[in-house]
Amino acid sequence: MTTFLRQLTSLTTHFIRVELANLERLLSPILFSTTILILFFFAFSPMDQEVFVKVYIAQTFLSMFFALQIGFARIFEPDDQDDAFTLLRTYKPIPEAWFLSKYIVITLFGVLVISSTMGLSIFFNQSINISVASWSVFLVAILALLGIAALGLLLSAMMLKADAKQILYPLLYFPLTTPVLLAAVQCSQEILINNMSLSELLSSWLGLLLVFDAIYIILSTLLFGELVKSE
């Protein structure tokens, strides 16, 4: 247990340093989500107030979803460049510690993407007299992130040896994350349109979101070790 925690702490610190050393890797998904948001606003404005909330949720979640995919797909790039996979054959970390450290880093990065996308989306919507700023929706987005980050990380590890990873990654990422995204969007609609609370949603969409989070986190933690085993 001590070895596990020691490895988890040192790997997490190392991965955060690596990400911070390459700020363009951190900033490019945020810029990408901003660009998509601008395109959405330009395409949909002016908007009927009735459909406004639905469009706001769709455009915010889709922008985050696309931007996160870029971040997830590149999470093993530094390890690949530094020949970490070859070096790890001689000193193997506990796979779960390796997975969780990457997971912590990618979740922190995801929180940054979500905060900036939601902040910008709220800012761009100031001209319409409907308040869309909600901590509950932010929490739902974070819960969605927990599930798709685990899956995104697992898929990224799967794609390390694939020839056509640029095509295959989105082909697997989008269909597999659909249940989480659908549950998050439906939860947000219930919160913003029907003024439902999170506790009320626990028996329906929020419950489904949590179930999928649990499935993806557990499966990814268990299966990651299989993917980084040597031949």
């Binding site: 694939a162 697997l172 659909t178 993917l227 085993k229 031949e231």
Partner: protein
């Protein structure tokens, strides 16, 4: 000799499927609301049951097995289930589309079950693409097994999508709480067809599995011949 056995197995499977359809078309009443067009369920539902039930179960079992005891043989068993599953998922989507045109008035709508079934077809196709983009070895077996397990997670969503989302697709009328809503003659014909298509799927899987093994053997022999 081996080839003629496979052809015979395939023909037996086809004959069984036609017997099932002949029974369903001859001995079941016409639906009061939908007329004769409802009979497409004798192709649509068994194909869906085969894709979501048998093939998914086969994929799940072989994928878990592939992780526990990685071997090329077990990977080919998984791949065969994916291919058979893809065939039956495509049949499900096509027959559903034809049925949709006559009952809902449209070939396609973004209904929850249609969307999730379509996503399953994409995932099965992606499995085959991933399989082809990886080099032979234990790593490929592990990666494909992990993906196989992830795909199987999608199956309960497709099954429950009709009750989770308010959709156009009719709710389950075979396995239902509070009794069946189906005429007994229709129900028996449907069960017979599900059973026969399951046999046909298994035969298809066996033939495809043998073909893949043979292909693997030939590739290995040709490499040994060169070296």
């Amino acid at each position: 000799m081996r080839e003629s056995k496979d052809i015979l197995a395939g023909l037996i499977g086809l004959v069984l499927v036609f017997i099932g359809w002949w029974y369903a078309f001859s001995f079941t009443p016409v639906d009061a609301q939908q007329g004769a067009v409802y009979r497409i369920i004798y192709i649509h539902v068994p194909a869906a049951a085969s894709a979501l039930g048998l093939c998914s179960l086969g994929l799940l079992v072989t994928s878990i097995w592939g992780l526990l005891k990685p071997s090329e043989k077990i990977l080919q068993a998984s791949r065969s289930w994916v291919e058979v599953g893809l065939i039956f998922t495509t049949i499900t989507l096509l027959t559903g589309s034809i049925w949709g045109k006559s009952t809902w008035g449209t070939w396609w709508t973004w209904d929850a079950r249609l969307t999730t079934t379509f996503l399953l077809a994409i995932l099965l196709l992606a499995y085959l693409l991933l399989y082809n983009s990886l080099r032979q070895g234990k790593q490929r077996i592990r990666i494909c097994s992990v993906l196989g397990i992830l795909i199987c997670v999608d199956v309960p969503i497709i099954y429950k999508s009709v009750s989770w989302w308010r959709t156009l697709h009719q709710p389950s009328s075979i396995i239902e709480q509070g009794g069946r809503t189906m005429d007994p003659a229709m129900y028996n014909a449907l069960l017979l067809n599900i059973f026969l298509i399951a046999i046909f799927s298994t035969l298809l899987w066996m033939i495809r599995f043998k073909n893949l093994r043979l292909h693997d053997q030939m590739t290995q022999d040709s490499f040994e011949g060169v070296s």
